[in-house]
C-alpha cells in the first residue's frame, strides 16, 4: 500500500471483508433456510481530492495486484509483490436461536391473552473486516447481530437485535401487541402537541435529525461542513455522541471502515454542534473535522461518514416526570421511519401508533400520524430527557443505497409543541 500512496497527502487502504448471513423466512415462504457467504476486497487511493477505487469478489492475490495496478496512477518504481491474502472465514453460526425465537415471541404474545396473524422472518448477520493502510494495519473488526421483520395485517415492524434471546423476544412481542391493540385506533387530530418519545423512538429521531444532519457529506450540500461547528442546533439538554466503541458488545468497533481509530465523538454538547461525522476524505479537506466515522455497506461501496452507535446522555426526569411533562400529549413507543431533507432541513417521522397521556398515565391508543418540522425546530423543542438509558437498535439506515445497522443507547425524551399530521 505504501508503494501506491507514494506522494505527500496520499491516502490508500485495502479493505478485506468476510460476510455471512442466514435468513429464516416466514413459515409459508419457500427456500428455508437461505444463507449467503461472501468474501472479497477493495483497494482505494485518494490523491489531491480525487479517488480511485477497485473492488473484487474473492481473495485471490493475483486479483489484488491487478486491482492495485488499476488504482495506481503510475507504475510503482518496484514490482508489486503478490501478498498472502487473508484466509477464508469458516462461519459456524449456531442456528438454534433462529429456530427458538419464533416460539419465544409466540409465548410472550399469548401471555398477553391476544392472538393475531403474524409472519416473522429472522436473520443472522456476521461480518469480519480487516483494513490495511499505507502506514497502519488496524485490528481486525467483527460484528455479529440479528434482525427481525414481522408482518402483521396492520403493518410491518422491524427490529435490530444484538442477540436473539427471550428478553429480545418479549420486547418484540410487546411492540407487536401494541400495534395489534391500536389497529382500529383513530389518528390524533392534526396540530401541535407534546410528544414523549420512548428510547426506541428517540433513537430513530436522533439518527435522522442529529446524525444524518451532521454527516460531513450532507452538510456540504448547503455549505462548508465545518461551518456547523459551534452552532446551537438543539435544546441545551441534548448531549449526543457517536461512540462505536461503546456499542453492544457483539457490534463494538475500535476502528472504522477506513482503518482509522473510532472516537467518542460529541455531536452535540449542550445542544451545540461540536464535531460532525467525518471520514478520512472530509477530514483531509478540513483541519476542523476528525476522521474515524467511515462506514461502508459492502466492499463494492465507497466509504462515507455515517454514525454507528448513538448515545444521548441521561437527563433527570424519571418516567413519571416525563408523563407529567407530556400530559395531554402522546406517548410514542415506536417510529416506522424518518426522513431528512438535507437541502432545507425539513424532517418527518412516521409514527404507526401511540398512546394518549392523561393525568400522568398512558391512556387509549391512537392511530398513525406524521411528525413534521425542521430539524432545528424539533430539537430545540426538547424540554426533558429521561434518566433511564436503554440500548436500542435505531434500525437499518439506507442512505445512498448502503444498508447499515445503526445502534443507540438512549433515554426517553419529551418534545413540546410538535407539529403532528393525521394519516
Amino acid at each position: 500500500m505504501a508503494q501506491i500512496a507514494d506522494q505527500p497527502g496520499d491516502r490508500a487502504e485495502a479493505f478485506f471483508e468476510h460476510r455471512f448471513e442466514r435468513l429464516l423466512p416466514a413459515q409459508d415462504e419457500a427456500l428455508s433456510p437461505r444463507e449467503w457467504c461472501e468474501e472479497g476486497f477493495a483497494v482505494r487511493l485518494v490523491r489531491a481530492g480525487r479517488a480511485w477505487h477497485a473492488s473484487r469478489d474473492g481473495l485471490a492475490g493475483t486479483a489484488f495486484i491487478e486491482a492495485l495496478r488499476q488504482i495506481a496512477r503510475a507504475q510503482p518504481r518496484t514490482a508489486l509483490v503478490e501478498p498472502a491474502m487473508p484466509e477464508s472465514a469458516e462461519w459456524q453460526e449456531d442456528a438454534t436461536p433462529l429456530l427458538e425465537f419464533p416460539r419465544w415471541v409466540e409465548r410472550a404474545i399469548r401471555a398477553e391473552h391476544v392472538a393475531f396473524p403474524l409472519r416473522l422472518a429472522l436473520r443472522q448477520h456476521a461480518r469480519a473486516v480487516l483494513v490495511v493502510g499505507s502506514r497502519l494495519v488496524a485490528e481486525r473488526q467483527s460484528e455479529r447481530f440479528c434482525s427481525a421483520l414481522a408482518d402483521l395485517p396492520w403493518g410491518r415492524i422491524g427490529a435490530l437485535l444484538p442477540r436473539l434471546d427471550e428478553g429480545a423476544a418479549a420486547a418484540l412481542a410487546a411492540r407487536l401487541v401494541a400495534r395489534f391493540r391500536a389497529r382500529f385506533a383513530e389518528p390524533p387530530a392534526s396540530g401541535r402537541t407534546t410528544l414523549v418519545l420512548s428510547p426506541d423512538a428517540a433513537a430513530v429521531l436522533l439518527h435522522e435529525a442529529v446524525a444524518h444532519a451532521l454527516e460531513a457529506d450532507l452538510l456540504s450540500l448547503s455549505g462548508r461542513p465545518e461551518a456547523a461547528l459551534g452552532v446551537q442546533f438543539g435544546a441545551s439538554c441534548l448531549n449526543v455522541l457517536d461512540s462505536p466503541g461503546a456499542a453492544p458488545e457483539t457490534v463494538r468497533r475500535t476502528s472504522d471502515d477506513e482503518g482509522m481509530p473510532v472516537l467518542r465523538r460529541w455531536l452535540l454538547r449542550g445542544g451545540v454542534v461540536e464535531q460532525p461525522l467525518a471520514d478520512g476524505t472530509w477530514a483531509d479537506a478540513s483541519a476542523a473535522l476528525l476522521p474515524g466515522a467511515a462506514r461502508r455497506g459492502h466492499r463494492h461501496d465507497l466509504p462515507g461518514p455515517r454514525s454507528s452507535h448513538l448515545e444521548l446522555l441521561p437527563g433527570e426526569s424519571d418516567e413519571a416526570a416525563l408523563l407529567v411533562a407530556g400530559d395531554g400529549g402522546l406517548w410514542v413507543n415506536e417510529v416506522d421511519r424518518g426522513a431528512l431533507d438535507p437541502w432545507d432541513g425539513s424532517f418527518t417521522l412516521a409514527v404507526p401508533c401511540a398512546r394518549r397521556i392523561a393525568a400522568g398515565a398512558l391512556g387509549e391508543p391512537v392511530g398513525p400520524f406524521r411528525v413534521r418540522g425542521t430539524v432545528a425546530g424539533l430539537l430545540s423543542s426538547v424540554v426533558a430527557v429521561g434518566r433511564d438509558v436503554r440500548p436500542a437498535g435505531a434500525g437499518w439506515c439506507a442512505k445512498g443505497g448502503q444498508a447499515l445497522p445503526v445502534w443507540a443507547t438512549v433515554p426517553a425524551l419529551c418534545i413540546e409543541g410538535a407539529d403532528v399530521e393525521a394519516l
Binding site: P25, Q27, D28, E29, A30, L31, S32, P33, R34, E35, W36, C37, E38, E39, G40, G49, R50, A51, W52, H53, A54, S55, R56, D57, G58, A63, A67, Q70, D217, S220, L221, T281, W282, A285, H300, L302, W343, D344, E421, A422, L423
Partner: protein, 436 residues
C-alpha cells in the same frame, strides 16, 4: 457451461435433493462519480453463485462469492416444495451486437458527465450538477438444473443518476435516474433539459388550488403511475386484485391503453433470451385496448391455454433469490400521435412533467396520490409553473380516463424497466396536499 456447476449438481443429487439448480454470474463494471468530496473512478468485478435445492420436503437457498463448490453438508430443506422448470426451446433470438462493446473509459465517462453539466448550465443559468454517478457494466450468467435446463446469457447496462441544484431565494434540487444498454446512449442535452424543466418549475412554481381538467402526463409521470399499478399486472395474485376494477366483463381501461411486457424488447436494457431460471422470455400482452388479457405469469402459475407463461423470473445478482417481476413493461405508444398535438388540444388543464416523491397506491381501496410538478395549461399553452401538487383520483378513473397515448415512449429504471409515452388523461384531480 461451468464444470463446477455440474459437480455441485452431482453432489446435490447424491445427497438426495431431487430438485437442484446452480446459477453463476460474473460481471464487471466501471463507475465515475462526481461527489461533494471530489471525483471518484471505481471498477468492480463480481463473481458468485447461487444454489436452490430440495424437493417435496421443501428447499434451501445458498449463495456465495467465487466459484460454486460442493459443500461438506447441505442444510435441511424446509418450507413449501421446491419446483424447478423443465427445459423449453429458446426460439428465435439474435444476440445484440453491442455486447462486445468495451466499457466506457474513465475519461469518456468524465466527459459525458461534464457535457451534461455544461448543457444544464446553458439551459438554466445558475443551475449546476451537484452529484452524479455513471456506471456501465457487462455480465455473463449461466444456469443448470437437475431438470435439464442449461442456459447462458449475457447482459449490458449503463445507469446514470444526476442530482442538480438551482440556488436562489428558494433553493431547489432535483434528481433523475436513467438507464441505457450503453453509456454512449445517454443524450446530455435531453437529460439536462429534463433537469432544467424540473428545477425551473420547483423554483418558480406555486401549489395549485384543488382543480380538475385535462392532464397531459409526461413519460416520467406515466411510468411512475404504471409502477404503482404493477400488482395489477404481475403474478398469480394480480387477477384477484384487478377483478374489483373490471368493468363490463374484462374491460379495465380505455381503448387507448395497451400494456405489454417484453423480455426481449429490441434495444431494451434487460433484453435476454431467457430469464433467471433459464425459461425463454417473450412479449406478453397484459391489456389490449382496454381489455384485461392476463397477468405476467411465470411457468408455474400459467394455465394454458387460458394464460401463457413468460420468462419473468428476475435475478439482479447471484445474491438475490429469484422473484417474479417485469422486464420491459410499458404502455404501447401511438406512432401517429405527437406530444405537440396532444398539448395543443388541451383547453384547460395541466402538463405534468415529473414526479417529486413517492406516491401512495391503494388498489383495493381504488385510490392513489402522486406528488408531481409541471405547468398549468390554457388553450394549448403553458400558463404557469406548478409545484407542490398531488395528482389524485381513483385507479379506475385513471385507467378509464386515458384519452390518448403519444409516440414518445421512454423507459425508466424502476422495478424493472417501466415505460410510458406521454398520456392524455381526464377524470383526475390536482390538489395541494396528499390528504386534502
Amino acid at each position: 457451461m461451468n464444470a463446477a456447476s455440474d459437480e455441485v449438481l452431482a453432489a446435490l443429487a447424491r445427497a438426495g435433493h431431487d430438485a437442484a439448480e446452480v446459477y453463476t454470474k460474473r460481471g464487471r463494471s466501471r463507475r465515475v462519480l462526481f461527489t461533494a468530496a471530489g471525483p471518484v473512478a471505481s471498477s468492480t468485478q463480481e463473481e458468485g453463485w447461487a444454489i436452490r435445492a430440495g424437493g417435496a420436503r421443501g428447499g434451501f437457498f445458498l449463495a456465495g462469492s467465487g466459484a460454486p463448490l460442493p459443500a461438506r453438508s447441505w442444510p435441511a430443506p424446509a418450507g413449501p416444495p421446491l419446483r424447478l422448470p423443465e427445459p423449453m426451446p429458446v426460439g428465435d433470438w439474435r444476440q445484440p451486437a453491442d455486447l462486445e462493446a468495451p466499457l466506457l473509459a474513465e475519461n469518456e465517462a468524465r466527459a459525458l458527465l461534464e457535457a451534461i453539466a455544461r448543457e444544464l448550465a446553458a439551459e438554466l443559468p445558475g443551475a449546476r450538477v451537484q452529484q452524479a454517478s455513471l456506471q456501465e457494466g457487462a455480465s455473463e450468467s449461466e444456469v443448470v438444473s437437475s431438470r435439464g435446463v442449461r442456459a447462458a446469457w449475457r447482459s449490458r447496462a449503463a445507469l446514470l443518476r444526476l442530482e442538480a441544484v438551482l440556488p436562489g431565494e428558494r433553493r431547489v434540487s432535483a434528481a433523475i435516474d436513467a438507464a441505457e444498454r450503453l453509456a454512449h446512449g445517454f443524450a446530455p442535452s435531453a437529460l439536462a433539459r429534463r433537469l432544467a424543466d424540473r428545477l425551473h418549475v420547483l423554483q418558480a412554481g406555486a401549489a395549485p388550488d384543488r382543480d380538475r381538467g385535462e392532464f397531459l402526463l409526461a413519460p416520467a409521470v406515466g411510468a411512475r403511475l404504471l409502477l404503482g399499478l404493477l400488482p395489477l399486472w404481475i403474478g398469480p395474485g394480480a387477477a384477484v386484485l384487478s377483478k374489483g376494477l373490471l368493468q363490463r366483463g374484462t374491460r379495465i381501461a380505455s381503448d387507448a391503453v395497451t400494456i405489454l411486457d417484453d423480455g426481449r424488447l429490441a434495444g431494451g436494457v434487460l433484453a435476454a433470451p431467457v430469464d433467471g431460471e433459464g425459461t425463454p422470455t417473450r412479449e406478453i400482452t397484459l391489456v389490449a385496448q382496454g381489455e384485461a388479457r392476463q397477468p405476467l405469469l411465470p411457468w408455474w402459475a400459467a394455465r394454458p391455454p387460458q394464460t401463457r407463461a413468460s420468462g419473468c423470473v428476475r435475478r439482479a445478482s447471484y445474491r438475490d433469490v429469484p422473484g417474479v417481476g417485469a422486464t420491459h413493461l410499458y404502455v404501447r405508444p401511438r406512432s401517429e400521435v405527437s406530444v405537440a398535438s396532444l398539448l395543443g388540444g388541451v383547453v384547460r388543464g395541466y402538463y405534468l412533467l415529473d414526479v417529486t416523491g413517492a406516491g401512495a397506491f391503494d388498489l383495493q381501496g381504488d385510490r392513489f396520490t402522486l406528488p408531481v410538478c409541471g405547468f398549468a395549461v390554457q388553450g394549448g399553452r403553458s400558463s404557469a409553473p406548478v409545484r407542490g401538487a398531488w395528482l389524485c383520483g381513483s385507479v379506475t378513473s385513471l385507467l378509464r380516463g386515458v384519452q390518448a397515448a403519444a409516440r414518445d415512449l421512454a423507459f425508466f429504471p424502476l422495478d424493472g424497466m417501466i415505460g410510458a409515452p406521454t398520456l392524455l388523461v381526464t377524470g383526475l384531480e390536482l390538489r395541494s396536499s396528499s390528504s386534502a
